[in-house]
């Protein structure tokens, strides 16, 4: 009985979850290298955009780790990250349309992630759906 419960609650890192982790990993790599490079070489051009890129990078890394670690804590971490992501991608997406002057250079989340095929918008939704399904 107890085994069944743990088996059901720790499965965020198997099956479709592994695909989700893989995509999160890709975005963690993309966002980290992009933000690192931008902050290292041309931080003054668009500090807000680059700091947000860095924030996105951190969130993707933590979300990937949270999903991969699977346990109770991992689930909560992943839940928090997916929520932050969803708020971030929608908020920054809208903000980059309303006030483009604040974003002279692109972030991962500007234009609702249009530079990345809108996958940044899709990922947190899939993440939350997956967390809900495996609960």
């Amino acid at each position: 009985m107890a085994e069944l419960r743990t088996a059901r609650t720790t499965r965020t890192n198997a099956g479709p979850g592994r695909l989700l982790i893989a995509v999160y990993l890709l975005f963690a790599i993309a966002a980290t290298s992009r933000a690192g490079l931008q902050i290292a070489t041309k931080f003054d051009e668009a500090p807000l955009a680059y700091l947000l890129s860095a924030l996105a990078a951190v969130v993707y890394i933590v979300a990937a780790v949270g999903l991969a670690r699977a346990g109770h804590t991992g689930r909560r971490v992943a839940l928090a990250c997916c929520t932050v992501e969803l708020v971030g991608v929608v908020g920054i997406g809208a903000f980059s349309l309303v006030r483009p002057d604040l974003f002279p250079d692109e972030t991962v989340w500007s234009g609702f992630g249009s530079g990345y095929g809108y996958i940044p918008l899709l990922l947190p939704i899939l993440g939350l759906a997956w967390l809900a399904k495996t609960r």
């Binding site: 099956g15 893989a22 890709l26 790599i29 993309a30 490079l37 290292a40 249009s114 990345y116 095929g117």
Partner: protein, 200 residues
């Protein structure tokens, strides 16, 4: 007719889309003017997003090949253009398609996928060697930081796919291979773009 004609015409405007008409006439009117640039028209509608860039790239590459065949030029272009890059893109998309079929058929990653990833990795390593040779010859990428970032990422992608696929011997392992093999061509194109910025 005098009563119903205006009404029915207005209805027709809404239903059948007068804008469609207008676009049609505009297109025929503009066609002679854009005759010069019509070579790019096959990709005109889908040039947005990462795959738009990829498609544009392939069309441009095809055009360049034709031009090169007409007038042979000594290789002064980017080291990561040409046959190896296109081979990488094609192999990657083939593996992605195969992995997608496996996913839809509920199949775990098979040997074909792993061999495909190995071939892809060899081509990508070849690209890296070409870039290294060009660097040793004194050529420099337009954006060095981004170029090396993309190059390192690119070379790591197929092994990442292979490791994750071995960890997940279900249909979702095939899905992972498919996803990573769809990302790889985009990274190849970005790599080419980061080389060219300075020279162009």
């Amino acid at each position: 007719m005098s009563h119903s004609a205006p009404y029915s015409r207005r209805q027709g405007d809404c239903a059948y889309g007068l804008p469609g008409w207008r676009i049609e006439t505009d297109r025929t009117a503009a066609a002679p003017q854009t005759g010069v640039t019509s070579r790019r028209s096959p990709t005109a509608g889908v040039t947005g997003g990462p795959y738009g860039a990829l498609l544009r790239r392939l069309v441009e590459w095809g055009g360049e090949r034709l031009e090169r065949r007409a007038t042979p030029v000594s290789g002064t272009g980017s080291p990561i253009d040409g046959v190896p890059a296109v081979a990488a893109i094609v192999v990657s998309l083939l593996v992605a398609a195969w992995a997608l079929v496996a996913t839809l058929r509920h199949r775990a990653p098979d040997r074909v996928q792993l061999i495909g990833l190995a071939v892809l990795e060899l081509i990508l390593l070849g690209l890296a060697v070409l870039a290294g040779v060009a660097l040793a010859g004194g050529e420099r990428p337009g954006e060095p930081g981004a170029f090396f970032g993309y190059l390192v990422t690119l070379v790591c992608l197929p092994p990442l796919a292979a490791v994750l696929a071995r960890m997940e011997p279900t249909r979702w392992g095939s899905a992972i291979v498919c996803a990573i093999c769809l990302v790889t061509p985009v990274v190849v194109v970005r790599l080419q773009q980061t080389w060219e910025l300075l020279g162009g």
